[in-house]
């Protein structure tokens, strides 16, 4: 029987890192979860992050992905609030 969950590492930056006080989390999610479900779980834990919901982009394994990208166990996920490099 296959594992009903997937385990992913979530890298946190900027406002997300400040909300959690740590640079990364390890989360278990139901198999078939999308990367946007990671954001939704974090916003449920930290409602003060709600302002970033619609402007957060997503990365999996160092590549930008769409919000509906499906997670695999072992993925490194990043939530990308508005960037300001340069």
């Amino acid at each position: 029987m296959s594992d009903p969950t997937v385990t992913v590492t979530v890298k946190l930056f900027a406002a997300y890192q400040e909300a959690y006080g740590v640079p990364e989390l390890v989360l278990d999610l139901p198999r078939g979860s999308a990367v946007s479900d990671v954001r939704d779980r974090l916003l449920a834990d930290h409602p003060e992050l709600e302002q970033w919901r619609d402007v957060t982009r997503f990365g999996i394994n160092l590549q930008f992905v769409e919000p509906d990208a499906v997670l695999q166990s072992g993925d490194e996920v990043v939530l990308i609030p508005p960037v300001s490099g340069g």
Binding site: K11, F13, A14, A15, Q17, V55, G59, L62, Q63, F64, V78, I80, P81, P82, V83, S84, G85, G86
Partner: protein, 160 residues
């Protein structure tokens, strides 16, 4: 590798880096130097002493470094597809807390002719600012801090 988005491997003469140590214009220029060049355009970005008239004392840069490096490589690859005469693409970015006047980013592009060098360099810095997973926090003179949102930078009249 980059195959997921069809980006070719980094050209052997391109150079990208994220570094905690200070950036060197001389090093970046040397990396862009090439006998086929007729022009090298170097873009240098540094910490400004104010934002919208409010005094800034420092900027603190945070980056998701491995993904930022991937984005830099994709920028270099896209430049080579768009401006095929480009000889060298160099992108270096700093992390950590920088004070007024310190260089935060250097982009250098070498080309046989200046117009392509200017265009490619502008593409590189504009794309970096929009896509590289790098964040900066403004440290204000009054001791408070805030993360910069590029949303503010996209308002008419802003100059980020």
């Amino acid at each position: 590798m980059q195959t997921a988005f069809g980006v070719p491997p980094t050209h052997h003469s391109d150079h990208v880096a994220m570094t905690f140590a200070p950036l060197s214009i001389e090093e970046v220029y040397a990396l862009a130097d090439d006998p086929a060049n007729g022009a090298v355009v170097v873009m240098s970005g540094m910490v400004r002493n104010q934002t919208d008239g409010k005094p800034v004392v420092a900027l603190e840069y945070q980056a998701y470094e491995p993904m930022a490096i991937e984005v830099f490589k994709q920028i270099a690859a896209q430049i080579r597809q768009t401006w095929t005469d480009v000889t060298r693409v160099v992108i270096h970015h700093r992390t950590g807390k920088l004070s007024i006047g310190e260089i935060s980013v250097l982009v250098a592009v070498g080309c046989p002719h200046r117009s392509e060098a200017f265009a490619a360099c502008q593409y590189a810095i504009d794309t970096l600012k929009h896509n590289a997973p790098i964040w900066k926090k403004e440290h204000w003179q009054d001791g408070s801090t805030s993360w910069v949102s590029i949303g503010a930078c996209e308002q008419p009249g802003e100059n980020c």
